[in-house]
Amino acid sequence: MRIVRLSRRQRLLANCAPISEELMNDRSMRTAVFRARASDEFADQQSFDRAVATLVRSVPVPPEIGEWFSSENLVPRSKWKWKMAQNPAVLAVAIALAVIAGVFVLQFLEHRHDFPGAEGARKLLMVAASTRSVLLDPVRTDAGALGDLFFMKHQLEHYDVAPEFADFRTLGCRVFDDEEGHRVAQIWVIEKGMQFFLFPAERNAKTGAAVEFSGWRYVEQEGWTGVVQERNGVCFMAALHGREKDLAPYVSKTKE
């Protein structure tokens, strides 16, 4: 004979186990029945109950009473009511779900224009926000001329400022390694306190090839906005403290 050890509460619940599966809509009851099912005693109980219920169902219902219930459930299930919505627990769950949904919508809206390397660009916007001019080597020239400096001094190939921003006068520049060890060139220009960043484009994990994207892509982080273009495996980003509309006049109309 199979015997199963049940807690006191599970024993109490197993004794009241509903005959029909659809009435087993309570988690603690389901757990108790699941455990009790392994015992012969419970199997006998269920066979016994089913046999009695089958006999009870055979009770003839007088036709005049049967008519009343021909189209109705015997037990009406309670429906959702406004009163239930006022229950603090229901209200708390509803608010929590609304907040979670809001976060998801916000995340979706934030990332819907994402492009390969957008996450790195956001980190560089944080760098831009915290950079002070004293950190950069003072260089007064046209931004477009710094591509040669980066190549000659730091062996950084294709680290060229986009033509749209090449004529801006610079205040300083530097080259540093980001958290992942990538070489990043940073340029500070006079125009609106703008900063330029040149950094390697995101690579395909399998092939190692740069993941290309076309046109200008915007990215925002903590009040800073950047506009990014990929060319020859290097991304160029122009960043300023402001909104997308402040950068839009500078980039060509080929933006996607």
């Binding site: 004794n15 509903p18 009870v56 009473i65 037990v75």
Partner: protein, 143 residues
């Protein structure tokens, strides 16, 4: 609950009449189990007036694997009489449970019982019914 179809029908009609009156007065019961609660109390009230079985300590036997075969041989009126003779609140518990329309929480609410009480009433009811079955439909005969 009553073991008597005629009295059961009277209770049903009285409950229906009460529900109709409440609805007509714009006092539709909000409790989804109002009908069952009302019918139950009317059954208890009705049975107070009729003949009542004497409360005796019934024998209890362990449930037998051949119980379903024994129950099959029963007449529904025999079972109805046995349940209606059970003392309250065991009678309500057995009637609601074997109606197979309510989950255990609903039975607790309708019968105004706690889980420990319902559990004991059902467990005792089964064992008493088994003892009665063994006396009424012996197992050898059932097989």
């Amino acid at each position: 609950m009553l073991g008597d179809p005629r009295r059961a029908q009277e209770v049903f009609q009285a409950t229906l009449r009460e529900a109709t009156l409440l609805c007509a007065n714009g006092e539709t019961p909000s409790d989804p189990f109002w009908f069952f609660r009302d019918a139950r109390w009317r059954c208890l009230e009705t049975s107070e007036h009729g003949l009542r079985a004497e409360d005796v300590e019934l024998q209890k036997h362990d449930l037998s694997p051949s119980a379903p075969a024994q129950i099959e041989r029963l007449d529904i009126n025999q079972l109805a009489t046995w349940i209606s003779a059970a003392p309250e609140p065991q009678r309500t518990a057995l009637a609601l449970f074997y109606l197979d329309e309510f989950n255990h929480r609903e039975i607790l609410s309708l019968a105004e019982l706690r889980i420990g009480e319902l559990s004991r009433l059902l467990a005792d009811g089964r064992r008493q019914l088994q003892a009665w079955l063994n006396a009424t439909v012996p197992q050898k005969e059932a097989k």
